[in-house]
């Protein structure tokens, strides 16, 4: 875990992200020339003169692709940071936001919005309902685990499973009671995707995700001390209980915002930190920024994949990340076996 190697990884990811994003805004059903895109972006940033692309291409770049790619980066980064955080808090490399009931709660909120017809009235109704669902699930989880499980990690895990199962049951019941033409809206949302997301999603969701990540970065040392275990953390003067709650609340906020804007995007929170731990180490201050960059690269690429793999249909983003993530884990398993 040499510092030099760590810096190289961070630098590599820091270079890779803008490159991948540039490719992602250029590629698609209407390919845009890289040089023109670069000139237009620089012009937008106040550098260079005149529009570099024809007006229709300018619209595609600035209205459709740029906010989408930026959102993909923030969602991916946010999910990876949440994954890394929860893995430290639960001291389990397989922890992710699903443990907090975020996904199941968000799904229930989304289905409720569709079933009640809110989703038709405003395009922001569904993400807001999903976010609300996620937060309600997390609050319920917290209240139940406090009153029944005494706030232990074990109690939190069991309560999380129960709350998720309840939310999933509610989702199924609502889906059955929903008109067929509306079911498709929900299914698309559940499958994850950034189709049709624009600047407004980025402004609202991005703010929550980036803000949450920034606080997690700043408090990385708390995460490290907690990862030593409850007893050692308490012996170092850490208020274990409240510190853990604060971290879980931040993680839930970021994951809730990510799920509300992009639907379900599995495996990013697992794969990015898992791949980086051997090179970045497990200290939060090293791992979280690297995980953010890696998660961002991963989802920007996955979103690009949804647009370019098939000329006829946009693939669901969640399926693409799962297609990448699941084999990764199987390979990691094989390597782990080979080493022992």
């Amino acid at each position: 875990m040499s510092a030099q190697r760590r810096r190289r990884v961070l630098l590599g990811l820091g270079v890779a992200l803008p490159v991948v994003m540039l490719v992602a805004v250029s590629a698609g059903s209407v390919p845009l020339p890289l040089s023109g895109v670069l000139a237009s972006l620089l012009h937008g940033a106040g550098i260079g003169a005149g529009a570099a692309l024809p007006p229709s291409s300018e619209t595609i770049l600035w209205v459709v692709r740029l906010p989408r790619v930026l959102l993909a980066a923030v969602v991916g980064g946010g999910l990876a940071v949440v994954g890394a955080t929860l893995q430290s808090v639960f001291r389990n490399p397989l922890a992710d936001s699903g443990l907090l009931g975020v996904g199941a709660g968000a799904a229930l909120g989304a289905v409720a919005a569709v079933r009640l017809g809110w989703a038709g009235t405003s395009f922001l109704a569904l993400p807001f309902a999903a976010f609300a669902g996620a937060m309600v699930a997390v609050l319920l989880l917290y209240a139940l685990s406090q009153s029944l499980g005494g706030g232990t990690l074990h109690g939190l895990l069991l309560t999380g499973i129960s709350v998720s199962a309840l939310a999933a049951a509610g989702t199924s019941m609502l889906l059955v009671a929903t008109e067929e033409f509306r079911v498709k809206t929900v299914l698309f949302w559940l499958a994850g995707g950034l189709d049709g997301r624009g600047w407004v999603h980025l402004r609202i969701g991005g703010l929550v995700m980036l803000g949450g990540c920034a606080i997690l970065f700043a408090g990385a040392r708390v995460l490290d001390v907690l990862s030593l275990g409850d007893e050692e953390a308490a012996a170092l003067g850490m208020p274990v209980h409240s510190a853990r709650l604060a971290l879980l609340a931040l993680a839930a906020l970021v994951a809730g915002a990510a799920t509300a804007t992009a639907g379900s995007v599995p495996f990013v929170g697992l794969v990015a930190p898992h791949a980086l731990r051997p090179v970045a180490g497990s200290l939060g201050r090293h791992l979280l920024p690297a995980a953010f960059l890696a998660g961002a690269v991963l989802v920007v690429l996955a979103d690009l994949g949804t647009r370019v793999i098939s000329a006829n249909v946009d693939l669901p983003l969640g399926s693409v990340t799962a297609f990448v993530g699941a084999p990764y884990f199987l390979l990691a398993l094989r390597h782990a076996d080979a080493r022992t």
Binding site: M1, R91, A218, D224, A235, G237, G281
Partner: protein
């Protein structure tokens, strides 16, 4: 009680601790002075580990109190307690990928809190702690690659990096070979000469007697005997607590303790 220092840093006064419904530590009073070496001995399940954790402020007393420099731990802020008292306990909870040096650095948390950056003073304390615990060569190794004994020394390095006034250790020598055991107790003597009060749970009675200035014998949660090692081990309380016969012989001016099973009562 004999040997209670006049200027105690850490004191337990009528301390009782419950684990669930069970009273594990029962009205224990003891004091640890600056630069003092005390070994806490006692049979399994005597309440030694619980007592040590209560002394570190990790378990709330059911009765009585623990005082740090005369002030009840209840009234001390957490970080102040963690700056004054370091607990080194055998645990496998630390993440496997963290390195020895990184773990020792977290020992500076009580001094800097979550946000303040580490200073040269912190780095110097960490370097000193690693060198002293003898784990400098392992500094960049992840914990997963260490043996149990090496992990124990890494935990000690974290405790030393805290630069506490009191060092509490729960079975610090459990996985160490004889060479490392001797080294460990030499290190404890070094820090004690700098004025740190050291209290260690030690299972190996001859080792405890050779190292400590004072033994505290805990049996069924109570202090059964306390005082100079030779007198505690020779006393009836030790034999009763461990259910053994203890005999001291002298070899080259040093006491050698011999242990035998007590004859089983007939009938």
């Amino acid at each position: 009680m004999s040997g209670t220092p006049a200027t105690a840093i850490l004191e337990a006064d009528g301390l009782s601790v419950r684990r669930g419904a069970r009273l594990v530590v029962d009205s224990v009073s003891l004091a640890l002075g600056a630069g003092e070496a005390v070994a806490l001995i006692g049979p399994n399940a005597a309440g030694k580990s619980t007592l040590v954790r209560a002394l570190a402020g990790l378990l709330a007393p059911a009765a009585g109190e623990v005082r740090l420099r005369g002030r009840s731990l209840r009234d001390c802020p957490r970080d102040a307690v963690a700056r004054a008292i370091a607990l080194v306990a055998p645990d496998e909870a630390a993440p496997a990928t963290i390195t020895v040096a990184e773990r020792a650095r977290l020992g500076r948390y009580p001094h800097r809190g979550p946000l303040r950056p580490f200073t040269a003073e912190d780095e110097a304390a960490v370097t000193r702690a690693l060198a002293r615990a003898g784990v400098q060569p392992l500094a960049d190794r992840p914990l997963a690659t260490l043996s149990a004994g090496e992990r124990q020394l890494a935990a000690l390095a974290r405790g030393l990096a805290q630069e506490p006034a009191v060092l509490l250790l729960d079975e610090p020598a459990a996985h160490l070979d004889i060479g490392h055991q001797l080294r460990l107790f030499r290190v404890l003597d070094e820090v004690r000469r700098e004025g740190v009060g050291v209290l260690a749970v030690v299972h190996d009675l001859p080792r405890a007697a050779a190292w400590a200035e004072r033994l505290v014998l805990l049996a069924r949660g109570r202090v059964a005997a306390e005082g100079a090692p030779a007198s505690v081990l020779a006393g009836p309380a030790a034999a009763a607590a461990f259910e053994v016969c203890i005999r001291a012989e002298h070899l080259g001016g040093r006491p050698v303790y011999l242990f035998d099973e007590q004859p089983t009562p007939r009938g």
